[in-house]
Symmetry: D2
Subunit: 426 residues, 4 copies
């Protein structure tokens, strides 16, 4: 049975004004428990501890990605571009809507701590015994696999993959605009309408008309600024470090058969690494924060302290340092240990490029990672070939090494550290 | 010891651009666990289920109220108005910052369910054995009591009360702007700068210069629209009803000594009504949502179903009805019961005016509830005397009666209801 | 020959972001001298002397009205509403684009001074021997007449008239948004997207779906505020009075065969009332301002002074007064004359409702002046029947009487005026 | 006599919300005929022919520059920075307000055509027998000279010069924001508040705190984009070329003693190069446009045609070309002449860097042209030393050569041009 939405539904959205839903499949997908769960997972993880406005959820972002994809396709259709396979519309819209459905809370930290991957989870949820899976199967038995293959970038229509996942995709455009809006940082403002008007389907991929080059430059500069102003902000890094330490400590305690005063079955499975899809779908930010909240009364002092730090926002302090050699790191670690500190937890050396975020690199061999400009003669060139400014910024390595540490603790033993090391932390 | 902030601190805020903090007391208060807890409580309760963007917290709002108060006072000082008691600045700033610190999660629903009052909790936290209390006592031993009396509107400088709590106070101005920004509904946009410029301290209260009358009219119209568009939205009401039913059911189960599969001590104290300040400060939205999450697997079917509804956003449907007499209500209730439904949970009759929100009523006898306009001859008049449009809108009773009910359940027994009642629900 | 625009053209517009042009007829019309002339006529006449940002032209506004009309029709077509006569699209777009093409500079003042009517001029230009006329005739010989009849509201498809000229038409929606944007007064902000989504063609007219009622209320309140804050601002009225006095004086001088030091033929024809279409199309704000500039050196002292006042913004001062009887006016006029002043020029009594602007009056007998709400049962009702707030504001008479006068001049003779009159002007 | 403004005056401004005036000298300066004249001169010259929204005047911009300067100084005063000479406040405010008062209409074109300089005129007006001069002399006899020396960058307090004229001055910040607002191009959006907060007076100049580096980077990128998107837009260049050709032709005609059908004395003096201050103050855009309007009926065909082109926006077409050698230019010129065209007017070769606008060049020897970053150790470094991105973009030469020509005319003689040249223009 094919339901019909008698009238278009809309969601009021502060970024796109309205998100428009006409297809009943999309409407049903939004109303599944798996998709509603995204309301309980913040888009920017711990960034709200740096930018208090950044409290928006992956639910909002997912609707936004869907809406931008819908706008692009609708522009392709209106313009009658023959290179766009019109029958792929629903595939693209579903993939756009669902691309983040496998995210857990504080995704990057949790993935690192427990060696997981949200893309895999997304595919499991799409193809599994879930409400989402059931709805997708009403379209066609192999429809879930199609959507999953778009997510995994193996779908045999690369233009669909391109739309959902490329350096100028609906995902990135939504998050730049949305994160700028919610943090209040106006660097992320891009001319979405102009970019959308300049996109063209062309021989199996989405390219940009050359007169849109400036808008793309502006988009790349906005992204560059957002990375350094927001995503890599050292205060956010500090909170992520504490988060990972909590997870690490909890894992150590589970492995040492410590008896927790508070533990939820789904959380335990997560830590043990044998979590099922149904359990995974239970995990949201509330559960994590509740565990931390209860753990502020655990017997284990380290866990207790870390959880208190996180909830009360008593973050680690940081200092900027030059690149350190392996020997220097060992020396510092030993000095910490000798001073009675625990370098495993009391000292973290961090360089932003370790992060899973991607800065645009035009020389990437992977063609899915290029932004292709098309001119009137239908010549295709990567934007870095035609834009001097993109070439200029794309080589810039801006990250800085930071040391993170619990200031109060380190301060009490400053006298026991070698002077040249003590100087760094004072 | 009096700390000094060597340089002004700022918080990036999407509504006010920056929130400026110069006084070290304010800085310390923001960094207490009690204030940081407000990050885990949404400003608009369940409204995020209607307006997905409305995910902002009471932390953001509290900073905003502080900032507007700071701007008003700073304008009073710059203009050299002699009616402003300059020594009251810190009292006003602290009261503005802390006025919501006693809020619990989903405040209005929880207060109704457990007969609590956030204002009382605010005062308990301010005067209690908390970090906030300790910081306030560094100013003066009786400083916490001063702040609490501003909250309770009994402070002996009524102008300070007026600033923090009146129909044109910093609280309302911030929430209109902020809720409009986060929901994306632009009706709440007000000309904050103009209103602030028009405020004057005058004989112990804050009045508005007559040339600011239009800006105040616009503010009252914005408020009027926000109430009907956002705060009283029937979908939000529906989610609040489910929330209250969960709390009610949990209370019934506690009272009947039901053995919960999942229960937290602080939550149990809350339900039992004997919660301490320390326990209360544990309660945040995470704990509530985690309880609901776990309760979807409780033995009690009703609780299980209600929690599932809330988390998965399977809300009650609603229909608009005319005013019903007591007899009609009884008749409908009985019909439900006879059809095998449980009218205690399957039928809720709702009229928005029951809500704790206040619409401006100019004829209120309480002078703290008036907006006073001052003209060049220093005549004072309530705005409804000078503005025809305010007079026009202030009498409007717009609320409508709604019936809320679980559609799937009611639908199965439609045939067993008397036809005139069945018609309403079909 | 039917030209085709190979690719859609866009105009960057600060209010609508982009104005989209696909039809070659529209493109050609925009590029006519008659339409380009609108660049040299400000949308808000002398309002720039009150709100310095209000320097936008009728060209911008005309593009905006076209764009809103295009959006409405495109939404009608997308939704497949059968009550919209699709073949009327070009008629509606041309009428929307050209509806203001007959405006002269400082339109309201000039029309009053020389007893003209911009609508008549619009029709003359559309049907005359002009580039616009020639382009329209390429569509069909009677096409110019069609467009003109839409402007004159006599077109036999009333729904087209309704779109271009009604209380909720594209004209009003654009000017509210645009005037708010350029003045910086944010009262004019309306939720354009929502209103557009709620419009429906229905039995020969455009109606509003009932769920859009709040957006329409908001629109009417915005309009109400813009009238009193911007359009009727007393400083703007003061500059309009001086403008009309200049025109009046120039006419008197022409009639008395005064020999002007500077006069342009087209201007002379305008003053004499025998201007041709070709001459009329010469008249723009530059010519008026240049004449005033040169007339600051005329022999006639009154003309000289008035022009200096206008250019240097030495406007008349104003005081608010109660309603005056005919006797009181005569008394004041005589007193002025006896004190050696010239009441014809030194005293103007003004009441805003004399102005040609329209405030929404729901009880207007003319059905083209209603805003019709349609509900699910297809009942049609005027908005004032369903909205209490519209009913409330629609009866409000807010205008106040003002006296305008040259303060420096009147001040010198205050002693010679009767005390009760002198008091008013001191 | 020292007037006092009893209450602060404000101007509603769409960019800064309000412009605040407290000092009576500023108030009086704004009300002079010389300053009011700026209302009749567009800020962006002919840009309104490319971006129809860009109709804002130098009056608005001048108020904006004043307002930003006022904000900077007020922040310096609030912070109690000792390096700011508080007695210089009025000097800085007057210089900021008046810095553009010498601009004529279509300034860059007119200066180039008649070899003039608006800065000189600004100083003449400030020090001359004008109302501005008279008001300034009420402060002190040498006050006009002080203001003029700030404009000329010779004032002995370099920090004042720095504030009004440097790569990060109030002038540039206002025009970026204002031009972005009025054109609707959002590339110009900068975080003004943050930049202002980061400015510090330091040993006679204004420097930027290092934590503001990102905001300055963003400002420089915004400027870069605005230059290429707006200021150097080829359509605007095309209209400027026609403008200069009109002025050139008028000059040729004056020199050849041609008898004009329409000429104003002030305009004649301007063309002859012997204009007085009083005559110069007569010149505004109205006079220029009126002359063009009347000249569309001149006997001289070339002047007639150029003026028609300008008013009706029939601009020259352009093609992009590679750098041409002197020989190639001569060859093309000759070919045009042989084909019966007039290369003096029918062919213009243009490279944007000829323009009087300045792109930031960090290696400029002039220290007034640097943006200095100060770190916690009070080290001063030019931003290009600390910002890789600034270093990257500052070397970019992006201009392209364009040929401008009257397409209709050139098209008729294409067959008579050598094929390789004809190809370029076809």
């Amino acid at each position: 049975m094919q339901l019909k939405l008698t009238e278009e539904k809309v969601f009021k959205d502060p970024v796109h004004n309205y998100v428009h839903v006409k297809d009943p499949i999309i409407w049903q997908l939004i109303n599944t428990p798996e998709f509603q769960r995204l309301r309980r997972i913040r888009q920017l993880g711990t960034s709200y501890l740096t930018f208090h406005g950044a409290e928006h959820s992956r639910f909002s972002h997912s609707l936004g990605v869907y809406e931008i994809t819908r706008k692009i396709i609708s522009q392709f259709e209106r313009s009658g571009y023959t290179d766009w396979p019109t029958e792929e519309k629903l595939v693209a819209l579903c993939a756009a809507l669902l691309h983040d459905v496998g995210h857990g809370p504080f995704s990057h930290s949790i993935e690192e701590a427990f060696d997981m991957n949200h893309e895999e989870w997304t595919c499991k949820i799409i193809m599994g015994d879930t409400e989402i899976g059931a709805i997708l199967r009403t379209v066609a038995p192999d429809f879930p696999e199609k959507i999953a293959s778009v997510i995994e970038k193996t779908y045999d229509k690369p233009i669909v993959v391109n739309l959902v996942s490329s350096p100028l995709d609906a995902d990135r455009m939504d998050y730049l605009l949305r994160d700028a809006y919610y943090t209040g940082v106006n660097y992320g403002t891009i001319d979405l309408d102009r970019i959308l008007r300049m996109l063209r389907p062309y021989h199996g991929r989405v390219v940009v008309k050359d007169s849109g080059m400036h808008a793309v430059e502006d988009y790349l500069m906005a992204r560059y600024q957002m990375y350094w102003q927001v995503y890599f902000h050292p205060v956010t890094r500090s909170s992520e470090i504490i988060l990972r330490q909590i997870f690490r400590r909890a894992k150590e305690l589970v492995q040492s058969e410590y008896s927790f005063g508070f533990m939820l079955p789904s959380l335990l499975s997560l830590i043990k690494g044998n979590i099922t899809v149904q359990e995974y779908l239970r995990i949201d930010e509330s559960i994590i924060q509740t565990a931390f909240n209860q753990w502020t009364e655990e017997k284990d002092e380290l866990l207790r302290e870390l959880c208190t730090r996180f909830l009360d926002r008593k973050l680690y302090k940081y200092v900027e340092v030059d690149l350190m050699s392996a020997d220097e790191i060992t020396e510092m670690t030993n000095a910490f240990r000798e001073a009675g500190l625990n370098p495993e937890y009391d000292l973290e050396i961090d360089f932003p490029s370790d992060l899973p975020y991607d800065v645009f690199r035009p020389d990437d061999e992977d063609s899915q990672k290029q932004i292709i400009i098309i001119d009137k003669q239908e010549r295709l060139r990567d934007i870095s070939e035609v834009s001097e400014i993109v070439r200029s910024i794309s080589g810039i390595q801006r990250g800085k090494y930071h040391l993170y540490f619990p200031q109060e603790k380190v301060r009490t033993v400053l006298g026991q550290l070698p002077p040249q090391i003590a100087k760094i932390f004072s």
